[in-house]
Symmetry: C2
Subunit: 333 residues, 2 copies
């Protein structure tokens, strides 16, 4: 399996002389944080690459390389999550305690996050070092990481800085956070990796990027919706966006539609962990028919994305984008 190969290479990287202790440390840290997610992002690279090759059989080498890029995205994700959990003081992740909460880890997890991040260029150098698109890959990962960290920054400074202030929350702010914090690395990056592997110049695919960002935004709106209205049995967790004072699409829409009276109720109850407060917010969401508003958003958003996809000149690219859209349309988890 590709993960084991990459891990073993990283644990024997000639650029660093490991001590036995540090090699064991990195191995345990990787196994805890890198696999074990849904691997959606990683698998998307291979799926997209296959579609771009239009049915032509892939060589073993191509499969390995596409998988390696997929794993690089999983590594990137692990790096963001390890550090995000520290910043959010979270308790669990993927059904186990957050890495920094493990015994004897604590703030060493900050550096472990950096190690995860630094593994990416090591993998890229080793396996793509001679390719004509090597420098574009480096630029791509750098740009997307910059955008993700920037999105995380606006999320952090609006959610955590000072006292809770609902009046800062708006649709443009929600859109900006989602676009930068999630959509670039989760939606654009896998497809961009596949495009680079086929020899494409990303500057010629601005529209593809824009469509993927719109899909990523749609995905996050669903995520916000399911956090409140999804079935905990199905989504695998109990949502806490209301308690956590999140800049969720729901609260933004509620603010947009609320009377002065209802706004007051939101300001008084949003971000409070008391179940009675949470219940009041949910009642208000119902009263404002946010379920209907969401259904309408989902419909128009889907139609708009489909229209944009079908306007694209390349059938192969259309297939890539449609396969993404299919995975998320009307999802319940």
């Amino acid at each position: 399996e590709v993960y084991s190969t990459l891990k073993s290479e990283l644990l024997h990287d000639p650029a660093f002389e490991f001590t036995d202790e540090s090699r064991k440390w990195v191995e345990r840290m990787l196994d805890y944080n890198v696999p074990g997610g849904k691997l959606n992002r990683g698998l998307s690279v291979i799926d997209s690459y296959k579609l771009l090759k239009e049915g032509k059989e892939l060589t073993d080498d191509e499969i390995f390389l596409a998988s390696a890029l997929g794993w690089c995205i999983e590594w990137l994700q692990a790096y963001f999550l390890v550090l995000d959990d520290i910043m959010d003081k979270s308790l669990t992740r993927r059904g186990q305690p957050c890495w920094f909460r493990q015994p004897k880890i604590g703030m060493i997890a900050v550096n472990d996050g950096l190690i995860l991040r630094n593994h990416i260029p090591r993998v890229l150098k080793k396996h793509f070092g001679g390719k004509p698109y090597y420098v574009d890959l480096l630029d791509l990962f750098n740009e997307v990481e910059f955008q993700t960290a920037s999105g995380q920054m606006i999320d952090l400074i609006t959610t955590h800085e000072g006292e809770k202030d609902l009046s800062k929350y708006s649709l443009p702010l929600h859109h900006r956070i989602v676009q930068y914090k999630t959509a670039y690395y989760s939606f654009y990056l896998p497809v961009a990796c596949a495009l680079l592997m086929t020899g494409e110049n990303l500057d010629n695919h601005i529209e593809v990027k824009s469509i993927l960002i719109e899909m990523g935004t749609y995905f996050q709106v669903q995520d916000d919706y399911l956090d409140c209205f999804g079935d905990p049995e199905v989504i695998g967790k109990v949502g806490t966006d209301i308690e956590d004072f999140k800049c969720s699409w729901l609260v933004v829409k509620a603010l947009e539609r609320a009377s002065e009276e209802q706004k007051r109720l939101l300001h008084e109850n949003y971000g409070n962990a008391d179940p009675a407060c949470v219940a009041k917010v949910k009642e208000l969401y119902m009263a404002l028919d946010l379920q209907g508003v969401f259904a309408e958003y989902e419909r128009t958003s889907y139609e708009n994305i489909i229209k944009r996809i079908e306007a694209h000149p390349s059938k192969a690219v259309q297939d890539v984008l449609k396969s993404f859209l299919k995975k998320i349309y009307k999802r319940e988890k």
Copy 2:
């Protein structure tokens, strides 16, 4: 001034749509963390580049580019220091409170560290994007960052993990931590940047790298020595390596030379903040004549480095290395 130019470009980077709040946040964060150091590493790039050009007048463009690379190293340093202070739970840095201890910052400082790190490829892309050595610059910064984070890792897991255990400390471990955590980015990186600017291939400069790493090691041994035996008035701080249970060259040498009885004394008192314990350790250092051992180390280390420098075929490269050595030989701060 180059710093202001780079900062202004970063605050208007088209790859991210800043909110007013986030632009102000980044500006304040940069001003707090990036300038204000001694700028040794940054200035070394220009000094080295000048020497490599053997007296030829530099164009304004060359000066700007060499300065920009110098600032990238300062940005890298700021990134490491912001995160190191969080991991070490430090109180002050460069005479002011650590960034994460500022009001309303806290763990957002983790992401600020990432922003600092992500600024480096933005600067490189903007100013070096078309240069023939662009990909080598990216590789260089990536490799050096990986090595620094790896050195930091062995430092963290030996110093912080579990109970204090002096028996792990040895000269090879000390050497490994210093080499990776400090020498690569502080000594090798500035010269490597200058070499790339002159069109050199770094693969042909393995010996230069090795000499610079040896100088970096020598520099850190001095740092460890001055922490205990330097004049606080001159070095600008009161050393606390003994209290902090640091893997210092002094404790490693002491362990090497101590009798069983003296080892016991070290084990009992090292890493204890009680001034009486610190005094006992210092007395032992004196009894073992570590001042004499250091003087001898300094002499042989200097001689060895000079011999290696003079064996180098290029006079210009010799000058670069000698100018580094001159800055640190017998330094008292």
